[in-house]
Protein backbone atom coordinates (compact mmCIF):
# COMPACT_ATOMS: atom_id res chain seq x y z
CA UNK A 1 0.00 0.00 0.00
CA UNK A 2 1.30 3.46 -0.89
CA UNK A 3 2.20 5.71 2.05
CA UNK A 4 -0.22 8.39 0.88
CA UNK A 5 -3.14 5.95 0.84
CA UNK A 6 -2.12 4.64 4.24
CA UNK A 7 -2.04 8.17 5.67
CA UNK A 8 -5.40 8.93 4.14
CA UNK A 9 -7.02 5.83 5.66
CA UNK A 10 -5.50 6.68 9.03
CA UNK A 11 -6.91 10.20 8.84
CA UNK A 12 -10.39 8.86 8.02
CA UNK A 13 -10.13 6.30 10.82
CA UNK A 14 -8.65 8.58 13.48
CA UNK A 15 -11.29 11.26 12.88
CA UNK A 16 -14.17 8.96 13.69
CA UNK A 17 -12.25 7.10 16.39
CA UNK A 18 -11.40 10.20 18.40
CA UNK A 19 -14.79 11.82 17.96
CA UNK A 20 -16.50 8.56 18.88
CA UNK A 21 -14.31 8.35 21.97
CA UNK A 22 -15.31 11.88 22.95
CA UNK A 23 -19.01 11.16 22.44
CA UNK A 24 -18.65 8.04 24.57
CA UNK A 25 -17.92 10.33 27.51
CA UNK A 26 -21.55 11.51 27.38
CA UNK A 27 -23.02 8.06 27.95
CA UNK A 28 -25.00 8.26 31.19
CA UNK A 29 -24.69 12.05 31.47
CA UNK A 30 -26.95 13.40 28.71
CA UNK A 31 -29.49 16.19 29.30
CA UNK A 32 -32.46 13.92 28.50
CA UNK A 33 -32.58 10.13 28.37
CA UNK A 34 -33.58 10.12 24.70
CA UNK A 35 -30.62 12.32 23.77
CA UNK A 36 -28.27 10.21 25.85
CA UNK A 37 -29.34 7.27 23.70
CA UNK A 38 -29.03 9.26 20.46
CA UNK A 39 -25.52 10.55 21.12
CA UNK A 40 -24.40 7.05 22.10
CA UNK A 41 -25.80 5.78 18.80
CA UNK A 42 -23.59 8.23 16.96
CA UNK A 43 -20.59 7.14 19.04
CA UNK A 44 -21.35 3.51 18.13
CA UNK A 45 -21.58 4.35 14.41
CA UNK A 46 -18.36 6.35 14.40
CA UNK A 47 -16.29 3.77 16.26
CA UNK A 48 -17.81 1.09 14.04
CA UNK A 49 -16.66 3.03 10.99
CA UNK A 50 -13.19 3.44 12.51
CA UNK A 51 -12.96 -0.33 12.92
CA UNK A 52 -13.66 -0.80 9.22
CA UNK A 53 -10.68 1.35 8.28
CA UNK A 54 -8.36 -0.12 10.91
CA UNK A 55 -9.31 -3.64 9.81
CA UNK A 56 -8.52 -2.73 6.22
CA UNK A 57 -5.08 -1.49 7.23
CA UNK A 58 -4.58 -4.46 9.53
CA UNK A 59 -5.33 -6.95 6.77
CA UNK A 60 -2.82 -5.24 4.51
CA UNK A 61 -0.13 -4.97 7.15
CA UNK A 62 -0.69 -8.18 9.11
CA UNK A 63 -1.74 -6.40 12.30
CA UNK A 64 -4.76 -6.51 14.59
CA UNK A 65 -7.26 -3.64 14.35
CA UNK A 66 -6.53 -2.56 17.93
CA UNK A 67 -2.87 -1.92 17.18
CA UNK A 68 -3.77 1.33 15.44
CA UNK A 69 -5.88 3.10 18.07
CA UNK A 70 -4.15 1.52 21.06
CA UNK A 71 -0.46 1.46 20.21
CA UNK A 72 0.32 4.73 18.45
CA UNK A 73 1.30 7.92 20.23
CA UNK A 74 -0.03 11.45 19.68
CA UNK A 75 2.20 12.41 16.76
CA UNK A 76 1.10 9.41 14.69
CA UNK A 77 -2.60 10.28 14.90
CA UNK A 78 -4.00 12.15 11.89
CA UNK A 79 -7.41 13.26 13.14
CA UNK A 80 -8.49 16.85 12.67
CA UNK A 81 -8.24 19.03 15.78
CA UNK A 82 -12.02 19.56 15.97
CA UNK A 83 -12.56 15.94 16.99
CA UNK A 84 -10.37 16.23 20.07
CA UNK A 85 -11.92 19.43 21.47
CA UNK A 86 -13.48 18.64 24.89
CA UNK A 87 -17.24 18.02 24.96
CA UNK A 88 -18.11 21.18 26.90
CA UNK A 89 -21.86 21.54 27.44
CA UNK A 90 -24.50 19.86 25.27
CA UNK A 91 -24.57 22.84 22.89
CA UNK A 92 -20.79 22.71 22.39
CA UNK A 93 -20.99 19.02 21.62
CA UNK A 94 -23.87 19.56 19.19
CA UNK A 95 -22.10 22.42 17.40
CA UNK A 96 -18.89 20.37 17.09
CA UNK A 97 -20.95 17.45 15.81
CA UNK A 98 -22.79 19.52 13.25
CA UNK A 99 -19.54 20.95 11.87
CA UNK A 100 -18.05 17.49 11.65
CA UNK A 101 -21.19 15.96 10.14
CA UNK A 102 -21.28 18.57 7.34
CA UNK A 103 -17.71 17.60 6.44
CA UNK A 104 -18.05 13.86 7.05
CA UNK A 105 -21.25 13.51 5.05
CA UNK A 106 -19.92 15.15 1.88
CA UNK A 107 -16.55 13.46 2.22
CA UNK A 108 -18.24 10.06 2.39
CA UNK A 109 -20.52 11.01 -0.48
CA UNK A 110 -17.47 11.68 -2.63
CA UNK A 111 -15.79 8.50 -1.45
CA UNK A 112 -18.69 6.26 -2.51
CA UNK A 113 -17.29 6.46 -6.06
CA UNK A 114 -13.69 5.94 -4.99
CA UNK A 115 -11.48 3.88 -7.28
CA UNK A 116 -10.44 2.03 -4.13
CA UNK A 117 -13.26 -0.48 -3.79
CA UNK A 118 -12.74 -1.11 -0.12
CA UNK A 119 -13.03 2.59 0.71
CA UNK A 120 -16.04 2.94 -1.58
CA UNK A 121 -17.75 0.06 0.26
CA UNK A 122 -17.04 1.60 3.67
CA UNK A 123 -18.34 4.96 2.45
CA UNK A 124 -21.55 3.44 1.08
CA UNK A 125 -22.25 1.82 4.43
CA UNK A 126 -21.26 4.81 6.56
CA UNK A 127 -23.08 7.47 4.57
CA UNK A 128 -26.41 6.02 5.68
CA UNK A 129 -25.38 6.63 9.26
CA UNK A 130 -23.86 10.03 8.49
CA UNK A 131 -27.15 11.11 6.91
CA UNK A 132 -28.87 10.50 10.21
CA UNK A 133 -26.05 12.18 12.20
CA UNK A 134 -26.30 15.33 10.10
CA UNK A 135 -30.07 15.44 10.41
CA UNK A 136 -29.79 15.01 14.18
CA UNK A 137 -27.05 17.57 14.85
CA UNK A 138 -28.52 20.05 12.35
CA UNK A 139 -31.93 19.88 14.01
CA UNK A 140 -30.39 20.39 17.43
CA UNK A 141 -28.33 23.39 16.33
CA UNK A 142 -31.54 24.95 14.98
CA UNK A 143 -33.59 24.03 18.04
CA UNK A 144 -31.04 25.48 20.46
CA UNK A 145 -30.07 28.46 18.30
CA UNK A 146 -33.71 29.45 17.87
CA UNK A 147 -34.92 28.22 21.28
CA UNK A 148 -34.64 30.59 24.25
CA UNK A 149 -32.51 33.68 24.69
CA UNK A 150 -30.15 31.71 26.90
CA UNK A 151 -29.79 28.82 24.46
CA UNK A 152 -29.25 31.25 21.59
CA UNK A 153 -26.42 32.97 23.42
CA UNK A 154 -24.86 29.67 24.39
CA UNK A 155 -24.95 28.39 20.82
CA UNK A 156 -23.52 31.61 19.44
CA UNK A 157 -20.66 31.23 21.91
CA UNK A 158 -20.16 27.58 20.86
CA UNK A 159 -20.00 28.67 17.23
CA UNK A 160 -17.50 31.44 18.00
CA UNK A 161 -15.35 29.03 20.03
CA UNK A 162 -15.36 26.26 17.46
CA UNK A 163 -15.03 28.16 14.16
CA UNK A 164 -11.22 28.19 14.45
CA UNK A 165 -11.38 24.40 13.96
CA UNK A 166 -13.73 24.44 10.97
CA UNK A 167 -11.48 25.17 8.02
CA UNK A 168 -8.84 22.56 8.80
CA UNK A 169 -11.27 19.95 7.48
CA UNK A 170 -10.99 21.37 3.96
CA UNK A 171 -7.30 22.25 3.79
CA UNK A 172 -5.81 19.22 2.09
CA UNK A 173 -2.58 17.57 3.19
CA UNK A 174 -0.29 16.27 0.46
CA UNK A 175 -1.61 12.71 0.92
CA UNK A 176 -5.18 13.91 0.35
CA UNK A 177 -4.16 15.68 -2.84
CA UNK A 178 -2.40 12.52 -4.00
CA UNK A 179 -5.47 10.39 -3.20
CA UNK A 180 -7.69 12.80 -5.09
CA UNK A 181 -5.38 12.69 -8.11
CA UNK A 182 -5.61 8.89 -8.03
CA UNK A 183 -9.43 9.09 -7.89
CA UNK A 184 -9.39 7.52 -4.44
CA UNK A 185 -10.70 10.56 -2.57
CA UNK A 186 -12.97 13.48 -3.47
CA UNK A 187 -11.58 16.96 -3.97
CA UNK A 188 -11.33 18.95 -0.75
CA UNK A 189 -12.70 21.96 -2.60
CA UNK A 190 -15.86 20.11 -3.59
CA UNK A 191 -16.34 18.89 -0.02
CA UNK A 192 -15.71 22.41 1.28
CA UNK A 193 -18.25 23.97 -1.00
CA UNK A 194 -21.06 21.51 -0.19
CA UNK A 195 -20.27 21.42 3.53
CA UNK A 196 -20.16 25.21 3.75
CA UNK A 197 -23.44 25.58 1.98
CA UNK A 198 -25.13 23.09 4.27
CA UNK A 199 -23.58 24.53 7.42
CA UNK A 200 -24.54 28.10 6.50
CA UNK A 201 -28.11 27.03 5.78
CA UNK A 202 -28.32 25.44 9.24
CA UNK A 203 -26.87 28.55 10.91
CA UNK A 204 -29.37 30.79 9.14
CA UNK A 205 -32.28 28.67 10.34
CA UNK A 206 -30.75 28.64 13.80
CA UNK A 207 -30.55 32.48 13.71
CA UNK A 208 -26.81 32.28 14.47
CA UNK A 209 -24.16 34.63 13.06
CA UNK A 210 -20.87 33.47 11.65
CA UNK A 211 -18.16 35.34 13.66
CA UNK A 212 -16.63 38.15 11.63
CA UNK A 213 -13.06 37.31 12.51
CA UNK A 214 -11.47 34.11 13.63
CA UNK A 215 -8.13 32.44 13.23
CA UNK A 216 -8.10 29.00 11.63
CA UNK A 217 -6.07 26.33 13.39
CA UNK A 218 -4.61 23.32 11.70
CA UNK A 219 -2.08 20.55 12.17
CA UNK A 220 -4.07 17.47 13.19
CA UNK A 221 -3.91 15.85 9.79
CA UNK A 222 -0.12 15.88 9.94
CA UNK A 223 0.10 14.87 13.60
CA UNK A 224 0.42 18.29 15.24
CA UNK A 225 -2.32 18.11 17.81
CA UNK A 226 -3.74 20.09 20.72
CA UNK A 227 -2.78 19.04 24.23
CA UNK A 228 -6.16 17.32 24.50
CA UNK A 229 -5.18 14.31 22.44
CA UNK A 230 -2.54 13.08 24.90
CA UNK A 231 -5.17 12.79 27.61
CA UNK A 232 -7.65 11.09 25.31
CA UNK A 233 -5.02 8.50 24.42
CA UNK A 234 -3.93 8.06 28.03
CA UNK A 235 -7.49 7.01 28.82
CA UNK A 236 -8.10 5.00 25.71
CA UNK A 237 -4.82 3.10 25.72
CA UNK A 238 -4.34 2.56 29.43
CA UNK A 239 -5.11 -1.15 29.58
CA UNK A 240 -3.25 -2.03 26.40
CA UNK A 241 -0.24 -0.10 27.65
CA UNK A 242 -0.35 -1.43 31.21
CA UNK A 243 -0.67 -5.09 30.17
CA UNK A 244 1.04 -5.37 26.80
CA UNK A 245 0.43 -8.31 24.51
CA UNK A 246 -2.62 -9.88 26.15
CA UNK A 247 -6.14 -10.57 24.87
CA UNK A 248 -9.17 -8.97 26.42
Amino acid sequence: MENQLRDYILMMADNVMILGQRLGEWCGHGPVLEQDIAITNIALDLIGEARNYYQYLGETEGKKEDEYPMKRDVRAFKNILLTEVPNGHWGDTIMRQCMFDCYHYYLLEGMTTSKNERLAAIAKKSIKEATYHLAFSGEWVIRLGDGTEESHQKMQQSLDDLMPYFNEMFIPESYEIWCHEQNIAPSSEVVRSSANEKFNAILTQATLQMPEKYYSKKGGKSGLHTENLGFILADMQYLQRSYPGVDW
Binding site: G24, P31, D66, D146, S151, Y238, W248
Partner: protein, 316 residues
Amino acid sequence: MENVNSFEERFQQKIDNEEKIEARDWMPEAYRKTLIRQISQHAHSEIVGMLPEGNFITRAPSLKRKLALLAKVQDEAGHGLYLYSATETLGISRDELIDQLHSGKAKYSSIFNYPTLTWSDIGAIGWLVDGAAIMNQVALCRTSYGPYARAMVRICKEESFHQRQGYDILLTMCNGTAEQKEMVQDSVNRWWWPSLMMFGPSDSDSPHSAQSLKWKVKRLSNDELRQRFVDMTVPQAEILGITLPDPLLKYNESRGHYDFGEIDWEEFRQVVSGNGPCNKERLQARVKAHEEGNWVREAASAYAEKMKSKSLASVA
Protein backbone atom coordinates in the same frame (compact mmCIF):
# COMPACT_ATOMS: atom_id res chain seq x y z
CA MET B 1 -74.51 -0.42 44.29
CA GLU B 2 -71.19 -2.20 44.39
CA ASN B 3 -69.03 -1.53 47.37
CA VAL B 4 -65.26 -1.28 47.53
CA ASN B 5 -65.06 -4.80 48.84
CA SER B 6 -66.58 -6.26 45.73
CA PHE B 7 -64.18 -4.24 43.55
CA GLU B 8 -61.35 -5.60 45.61
CA GLU B 9 -62.69 -9.13 45.44
CA ARG B 10 -62.97 -8.98 41.67
CA PHE B 11 -59.49 -7.53 41.45
CA GLN B 12 -58.04 -10.35 43.54
CA GLN B 13 -60.03 -12.88 41.57
CA LYS B 14 -58.52 -11.62 38.34
CA ILE B 15 -55.07 -12.00 39.83
CA ASP B 16 -55.86 -15.47 41.12
CA ASN B 17 -57.01 -16.40 37.61
CA GLU B 18 -53.65 -15.21 36.23
CA GLU B 19 -55.30 -12.38 34.28
CA LYS B 20 -53.25 -9.22 33.84
CA ILE B 21 -54.28 -5.96 35.48
CA GLU B 22 -54.21 -3.13 32.95
CA ALA B 23 -53.82 0.63 33.47
CA ARG B 24 -57.56 1.34 33.01
CA ASP B 25 -58.64 -1.39 35.47
CA TRP B 26 -59.71 -0.67 39.02
CA MET B 27 -56.92 -1.39 41.48
CA PRO B 28 -56.46 -0.82 45.22
CA GLU B 29 -54.52 2.32 46.01
CA ALA B 30 -51.92 0.27 47.86
CA TYR B 31 -51.36 -1.92 44.77
CA ARG B 32 -50.85 1.20 42.66
CA LYS B 33 -48.41 2.64 45.20
CA THR B 34 -46.48 -0.61 45.48
CA LEU B 35 -46.11 -0.76 41.72
CA ILE B 36 -45.05 2.86 41.40
CA ARG B 37 -42.44 2.25 44.09
CA GLN B 38 -41.19 -0.97 42.57
CA ILE B 39 -41.19 -0.08 38.87
CA SER B 40 -39.71 3.37 39.37
CA GLN B 41 -37.06 1.91 41.66
CA HIS B 42 -36.27 -0.47 38.86
CA ALA B 43 -36.16 2.38 36.31
CA HIS B 44 -33.87 4.44 38.54
CA SER B 45 -31.60 1.41 38.96
CA GLU B 46 -31.20 1.18 35.20
CA ILE B 47 -30.29 4.85 34.96
CA VAL B 48 -27.93 4.99 37.94
CA GLY B 49 -26.57 1.64 36.80
CA MET B 50 -25.25 3.34 33.66
CA LEU B 51 -22.67 5.18 35.76
CA PRO B 52 -20.36 2.49 37.17
CA GLU B 53 -20.05 0.80 33.79
CA GLY B 54 -20.00 4.05 31.86
CA ASN B 55 -16.79 4.77 33.75
CA PHE B 56 -14.96 2.27 31.60
CA ILE B 57 -16.28 3.25 28.16
CA THR B 58 -13.30 5.47 27.40
CA ARG B 59 -10.92 2.88 28.86
CA ALA B 60 -12.25 -0.35 27.35
CA PRO B 61 -9.27 -2.45 26.23
CA SER B 62 -10.32 -3.12 22.63
CA LEU B 63 -12.64 -1.62 20.05
CA LYS B 64 -14.84 -4.71 20.16
CA ARG B 65 -15.25 -4.42 23.94
CA LYS B 66 -15.75 -0.66 23.73
CA LEU B 67 -18.63 -1.04 21.27
CA ALA B 68 -20.21 -3.82 23.31
CA LEU B 69 -20.00 -1.74 26.48
CA LEU B 70 -21.39 1.38 24.82
CA ALA B 71 -24.28 -0.65 23.44
CA LYS B 72 -24.88 -2.25 26.81
CA VAL B 73 -25.00 1.01 28.73
CA GLN B 74 -27.25 2.41 26.01
CA ASP B 75 -29.58 -0.58 26.46
CA GLU B 76 -29.84 0.33 30.13
CA ALA B 77 -30.97 3.83 29.18
CA GLY B 78 -33.55 2.17 26.95
CA HIS B 79 -34.73 -0.04 29.82
CA GLY B 80 -35.04 3.05 31.98
CA LEU B 81 -37.26 4.58 29.30
CA TYR B 82 -39.61 1.56 29.03
CA LEU B 83 -39.87 1.37 32.79
CA TYR B 84 -40.56 5.08 33.26
CA SER B 85 -43.29 4.71 30.62
CA ALA B 86 -44.73 1.70 32.44
CA THR B 87 -44.75 3.74 35.67
CA GLU B 88 -46.46 6.64 33.91
CA THR B 89 -49.43 4.37 33.14
CA LEU B 90 -50.07 4.43 36.90
CA GLY B 91 -50.68 8.17 36.88
CA ILE B 92 -47.34 9.73 37.77
CA SER B 93 -45.05 11.70 35.43
CA ARG B 94 -41.43 10.99 34.56
CA ASP B 95 -40.49 14.41 35.95
CA GLU B 96 -42.02 13.58 39.33
CA LEU B 97 -40.23 10.24 39.38
CA ILE B 98 -36.90 11.85 38.56
CA ASP B 99 -37.46 14.44 41.30
CA GLN B 100 -38.04 11.60 43.75
CA LEU B 101 -34.74 10.04 42.72
CA HIS B 102 -32.83 13.30 43.02
CA SER B 103 -34.32 14.21 46.39
CA GLY B 104 -33.36 10.80 47.76
CA LYS B 105 -37.01 9.84 48.34
CA ALA B 106 -36.90 7.05 45.77
CA LYS B 107 -34.35 4.26 46.03
CA TYR B 108 -32.37 2.42 43.39
CA SER B 109 -30.50 -0.85 43.56
CA SER B 110 -27.69 -0.51 46.11
CA ILE B 111 -25.30 -2.53 43.99
CA PHE B 112 -24.58 0.56 41.91
CA ASN B 113 -23.12 2.29 44.95
CA TYR B 114 -20.05 0.08 44.67
CA PRO B 115 -17.12 1.36 42.59
CA THR B 116 -15.75 -0.13 39.37
CA LEU B 117 -12.00 -0.26 39.88
CA THR B 118 -10.62 -2.53 37.19
CA TRP B 119 -11.69 -3.78 33.75
CA SER B 120 -12.72 -7.17 35.11
CA ASP B 121 -15.31 -5.37 37.25
CA ILE B 122 -17.16 -4.79 33.97
CA GLY B 123 -17.14 -8.53 33.38
CA ALA B 124 -18.17 -9.23 36.97
CA ILE B 125 -21.07 -6.79 36.75
CA GLY B 126 -22.28 -8.48 33.58
CA TRP B 127 -21.96 -11.95 35.00
CA LEU B 128 -23.07 -11.45 38.61
CA VAL B 129 -25.10 -8.24 38.74
CA ASP B 130 -26.95 -8.80 35.48
CA GLY B 131 -27.20 -12.47 36.41
CA ALA B 132 -28.90 -11.61 39.69
CA ALA B 133 -31.09 -9.04 37.96
CA ILE B 134 -32.23 -11.65 35.43
CA MET B 135 -33.32 -13.99 38.24
CA ASN B 136 -35.61 -11.25 39.48
CA GLN B 137 -36.70 -10.14 36.06
CA VAL B 138 -37.58 -13.52 34.60
CA ALA B 139 -39.98 -13.94 37.49
CA LEU B 140 -41.34 -10.45 36.82
CA CYS B 141 -42.26 -11.31 33.22
CA ARG B 142 -45.28 -13.00 34.86
CA THR B 143 -46.04 -10.15 37.25
CA SER B 144 -49.73 -9.24 37.54
CA TYR B 145 -49.48 -5.69 36.14
CA GLY B 146 -49.61 -5.90 32.32
CA PRO B 147 -47.44 -2.92 31.29
CA TYR B 148 -44.71 -3.98 33.75
CA ALA B 149 -44.80 -7.61 32.63
CA ARG B 150 -44.51 -6.61 28.97
CA ALA B 151 -41.61 -4.24 29.64
CA MET B 152 -39.85 -7.04 31.49
CA VAL B 153 -40.15 -9.45 28.57
CA ARG B 154 -38.24 -7.03 26.35
CA ILE B 155 -35.71 -6.22 29.03
CA CYS B 156 -34.99 -9.86 29.86
CA LYS B 157 -33.93 -10.63 26.30
CA GLU B 158 -31.31 -7.90 26.38
CA GLU B 159 -30.18 -8.65 29.92
CA SER B 160 -29.34 -12.24 29.17
CA PHE B 161 -27.22 -11.03 26.27
CA HIS B 162 -25.42 -8.67 28.68
CA GLN B 163 -24.80 -11.48 31.09
CA ARG B 164 -23.18 -13.61 28.39
CA GLN B 165 -21.04 -10.64 27.37
CA GLY B 166 -19.87 -10.16 30.96
CA TYR B 167 -19.07 -13.84 31.33
CA ASP B 168 -17.16 -13.74 28.05
CA ILE B 169 -14.99 -10.89 29.36
CA LEU B 170 -14.11 -12.98 32.41
CA LEU B 171 -13.59 -16.19 30.47
CA THR B 172 -11.19 -14.47 28.05
CA MET B 173 -9.25 -13.05 30.98
CA CYS B 174 -9.20 -16.36 32.87
CA ASN B 175 -7.70 -17.98 29.79
CA GLY B 176 -5.08 -15.23 29.69
CA THR B 177 -2.17 -14.39 31.97
CA ALA B 178 -1.88 -14.98 35.72
CA GLU B 179 -2.23 -11.24 36.24
CA GLN B 180 -5.51 -11.18 34.34
CA LYS B 181 -6.87 -14.12 36.29
CA GLU B 182 -5.89 -12.44 39.53
CA MET B 183 -7.77 -9.34 38.41
CA VAL B 184 -10.88 -11.46 37.79
CA GLN B 185 -10.61 -13.15 41.20
CA ASP B 186 -10.33 -9.77 42.90
CA SER B 187 -13.41 -8.48 41.07
CA VAL B 188 -15.44 -11.53 41.97
CA ASN B 189 -14.32 -11.22 45.60
CA ARG B 190 -15.69 -7.69 45.68
CA TRP B 191 -18.93 -8.23 43.71
CA TRP B 192 -20.11 -11.60 45.02
CA TRP B 193 -21.66 -10.53 48.32
CA PRO B 194 -23.21 -7.28 47.05
CA SER B 195 -24.78 -9.37 44.24
CA LEU B 196 -26.40 -11.67 46.79
CA MET B 197 -27.70 -8.58 48.60
CA MET B 198 -29.49 -7.53 45.40
CA PHE B 199 -32.35 -9.91 46.23
CA GLY B 200 -33.16 -7.84 49.28
CA PRO B 201 -33.63 -8.79 52.94
CA SER B 202 -34.40 -12.34 54.02
CA ASP B 203 -38.05 -13.28 53.72
CA SER B 204 -38.44 -13.12 57.50
CA ASP B 205 -37.26 -9.52 57.40
CA SER B 206 -38.85 -8.21 54.18
CA PRO B 207 -41.57 -5.63 54.91
CA HIS B 208 -43.40 -5.71 51.57
CA SER B 209 -43.05 -9.33 50.57
CA ALA B 210 -46.22 -11.07 51.74
CA GLN B 211 -48.65 -8.60 50.17
CA SER B 212 -46.63 -8.42 46.96
CA LEU B 213 -46.74 -12.19 46.63
CA LYS B 214 -50.49 -12.23 47.19
CA TRP B 215 -50.92 -9.59 44.47
CA LYS B 216 -48.49 -11.50 42.26
CA VAL B 217 -46.43 -8.35 41.85
CA LYS B 218 -43.67 -10.65 43.07
CA ARG B 219 -43.80 -14.26 42.03
CA LEU B 220 -41.00 -15.70 44.13
CA SER B 221 -39.64 -14.66 47.51
CA ASN B 222 -36.27 -12.95 47.98
CA ASP B 223 -34.71 -16.07 49.48
CA GLU B 224 -36.02 -18.36 46.75
CA LEU B 225 -34.55 -16.12 44.06
CA ARG B 226 -31.25 -15.81 45.91
CA GLN B 227 -30.99 -19.60 46.18
CA ARG B 228 -31.67 -20.01 42.46
CA PHE B 229 -28.95 -17.49 41.68
CA VAL B 230 -26.38 -19.26 43.85
CA ASP B 231 -27.28 -22.63 42.33
CA MET B 232 -26.89 -21.26 38.82
CA THR B 233 -23.67 -19.37 39.47
CA VAL B 234 -21.49 -21.89 41.30
CA PRO B 235 -20.96 -24.19 38.27
CA GLN B 236 -20.16 -21.14 36.11
CA ALA B 237 -17.48 -20.08 38.61
CA GLU B 238 -15.98 -23.56 38.35
CA ILE B 239 -15.67 -23.21 34.56
CA LEU B 240 -13.86 -19.90 35.09
CA GLY B 241 -11.56 -21.61 37.59
CA ILE B 242 -12.11 -18.99 40.28
CA THR B 243 -13.15 -19.28 43.91
CA LEU B 244 -16.32 -17.66 45.21
CA PRO B 245 -15.43 -15.85 48.46
CA ASP B 246 -17.56 -17.90 50.84
CA PRO B 247 -15.97 -20.73 52.86
CA LEU B 248 -19.44 -22.06 53.75
CA LEU B 249 -20.50 -22.50 50.13
CA LYS B 250 -21.16 -26.21 49.70
CA TYR B 251 -23.57 -28.45 47.83
CA ASN B 252 -26.19 -29.91 50.17
CA GLU B 253 -27.28 -33.31 48.85
CA SER B 254 -30.36 -33.52 51.01
CA ARG B 255 -31.69 -30.10 49.95
CA GLY B 256 -30.51 -30.39 46.37
CA HIS B 257 -29.16 -26.83 46.67
CA TYR B 258 -25.96 -25.04 47.61
CA ASP B 259 -25.71 -23.87 51.20
CA PHE B 260 -24.04 -20.50 51.62
CA GLY B 261 -22.83 -18.20 54.38
CA GLU B 262 -24.68 -15.37 56.08
CA ILE B 263 -24.86 -12.03 54.29
CA ASP B 264 -23.43 -9.03 56.14
CA TRP B 265 -26.79 -7.35 56.70
CA GLU B 266 -25.21 -4.43 58.49
CA GLU B 267 -23.30 -3.56 55.31
CA PHE B 268 -26.54 -3.94 53.35
CA ARG B 269 -28.37 -1.54 55.70
CA GLN B 270 -25.55 0.99 55.56
CA VAL B 271 -25.43 1.04 51.75
CA VAL B 272 -29.23 1.26 51.47
CA SER B 273 -29.30 4.15 53.91
CA GLY B 274 -26.77 6.17 51.94
CA ASN B 275 -23.42 5.18 53.41
CA GLY B 276 -22.09 2.99 50.62
CA PRO B 277 -18.81 3.73 48.86
CA CYS B 278 -20.36 5.79 46.01
CA ASN B 279 -23.91 6.79 47.05
CA LYS B 280 -23.11 10.49 47.03
CA GLU B 281 -21.16 10.40 43.78
CA ARG B 282 -23.86 8.48 41.91
CA LEU B 283 -26.66 10.79 42.95
CA GLN B 284 -24.53 13.89 42.36
CA ALA B 285 -23.75 12.70 38.82
CA ARG B 286 -27.45 12.27 38.08
CA VAL B 287 -28.42 15.62 39.58
CA LYS B 288 -25.60 17.36 37.70
CA ALA B 289 -26.63 15.85 34.34
CA HIS B 290 -30.20 16.91 34.99
CA GLU B 291 -29.41 20.45 36.12
CA GLU B 292 -26.93 21.05 33.31
CA GLY B 293 -29.61 19.87 30.92
CA ASN B 294 -32.21 22.39 32.16
CA TRP B 295 -31.45 25.01 29.51
CA VAL B 296 -31.47 22.33 26.80
CA ARG B 297 -34.89 21.03 27.78
CA GLU B 298 -36.27 24.57 28.11
CA ALA B 299 -34.94 25.52 24.68
CA ALA B 300 -36.38 22.37 23.13
CA SER B 301 -39.86 23.12 24.51
CA ALA B 302 -39.62 26.80 23.54
CA TYR B 303 -38.66 25.81 20.01
CA ALA B 304 -41.47 23.25 19.80
CA GLU B 305 -43.94 25.93 20.93
CA LYS B 306 -42.65 28.35 18.27
CA MET B 307 -43.05 25.72 15.58
CA LYS B 308 -46.56 24.94 16.79
CA SER B 309 -47.67 28.58 16.64
CA LYS B 310 -46.04 28.97 13.23
CA SER B 311 -47.92 26.01 11.82
CA LEU B 312 -51.17 27.22 13.41
CA ALA B 313 -50.61 30.66 11.89
CA SER B 314 -50.03 29.15 8.47
CA VAL B 315 -53.24 27.12 8.74
CA ALA B 316 -55.20 30.26 9.74
